[in-house]
């Protein structure tokens, strides 16, 4: 009887812990690894050595209010199981110059945003799939937490000359 009680207690603890953990990671904040070099040098400056772990906050999902230059995690529009980390360059209503193959100017539709990786040479982003719905965004990256020597905030920056919010 004693072992059964103990097992029950342990299972109960794990279950509670799981519930609380899941809730916190869904609603408040979570820590995710960054894979690949598409955001270098902000994350993974040397992709082959080790992955950066970043803190993702979810409070922005209440209002879906973002600023230019925010780094966000979003579901890939072509495969919902993949998540990507990119920087928001333009928000709804902005005009953006796409440097894709021609110098086009494009208006971002309502509820969408334009995302690009910092390392434009090896990044799969809005330059290939166009503006994405803001509703795909899963959170905003605020800090690097691992490795310890790279601990720190993530700065907000974007190419201002390519965006105009007329």
């Amino acid at each position: 009887m004693g072992t059964r009680n103990l097992l029950w207690n342990v299972a109960n603890k794990y279950f509670t812990f799981g519930l609380v953990g899941l809730t916190i990671s869904d609603r408040y904040a979570s820590i995710v690894p960054v894979r690949g070099g598409s955001m270098s040098p902000a994350f993974n400056p040397q992709p082959s050595i080790s992955d950066d772990y970043v803190l993702v906050e979810k409070f922005c999902l209440e209002k879906y209010k973002f600023s230019h230059g925010d780094v966000v995690v979003f579901r890939s529009p072509s495969n919902y199981k993949e998540k990507h980390i990119k920087r928001i360059i333009a928000l709804p209503g902005d005009w953006i110059g796409t440097t894709h193959n021609s110098y086009d100017v494009l208006k971002i539709p309502e509820g969408h945003c334009w995302v690009e990786g910092d390392n434009s040479a090896s990044s799969m982003d809005s330059r290939s799939f166009g503006p994405i719905p803001l509703a795909l965004v899963q959170g905003r990256v605020t800090h690097i937490v691992w490795p310890p020597e790279r601990l720190g905030g993530v700065e907000r920056r974007y190419p201002k000359e390519r965006v105009s919010s007329l």
Partner: protein, 163 residues
């Protein structure tokens, strides 16, 4: 002193119980099943104008089990704070024929749904803002599949595959 400590412990246990309950609620609501209210003319006759309460389960969308004909809960691509209810009409790779402007002309258009996207339309094509205006939506915007209507009570029952 001992008394005080037992009160603190009691309060702590109560708080934890409430927190656990709320977490359980959140997890059930996010991963299993949620209730939502549908109003507006776009899903007539499946849902009434005035607001019907229905249950939507989250498992089908998570495990890729939704099929054309299902009623789905979708985060609006035009306003991320809004959820919309539409019928799924095409998965990726399907070709969909739709009436461009059913009120004024019978012109039809055919598109192929791109990879990772779905085609959604309201049942009432005369008053619905859906994929015909904003194009195919990414699968990642699907939030659940409506399976049971619970209000009004006389229409209680499962929401099957219509058409």
């Amino acid at each position: 002193m001992w008394h005080y400590r037992s009160i603190v412990r009691e309060a702590w246990h109560r708080t934890m119980a409430v927190a656990n309950f709320l977490c359980g609620l959140h997890v059930t609501n996010t991963y299993l099943c949620t209730a939502a209210l549908a109003y507006g003319p776009s899903m007539l006759p499946t849902f009434n104008l005035t607001g019907d309460l229905f249950l939507a389960e989250r498992l089908s969308t998570r495990f890729d089990k939704v099929r054309p004909g299902d009623v789905v809960l979708v985060r609006s691509p035009e306003n991320p704070r809004k959820l919309i209810v539409k019928r799924l009409l095409g998965m990726e790779g399907d070709s969909v024929t739709y009436a461009v402007d059913p009120k004024n002309s019978s012109r039809c258009n055919t598109v192929v749904v791109p990879k990772g996207h779905v085609w959604i339309e309201g049942d009432n094509i005369y008053a619905s803002r859906d994929s015909r205006q904003f194009g195919p939506v990414p699968y990642g915007l699907l939030e659940g599949k409506a399976f049971c209507k619970i209000w009004p009570p006389k229409e209680f029952g499962s929401l099957g595959q219509a058409e």
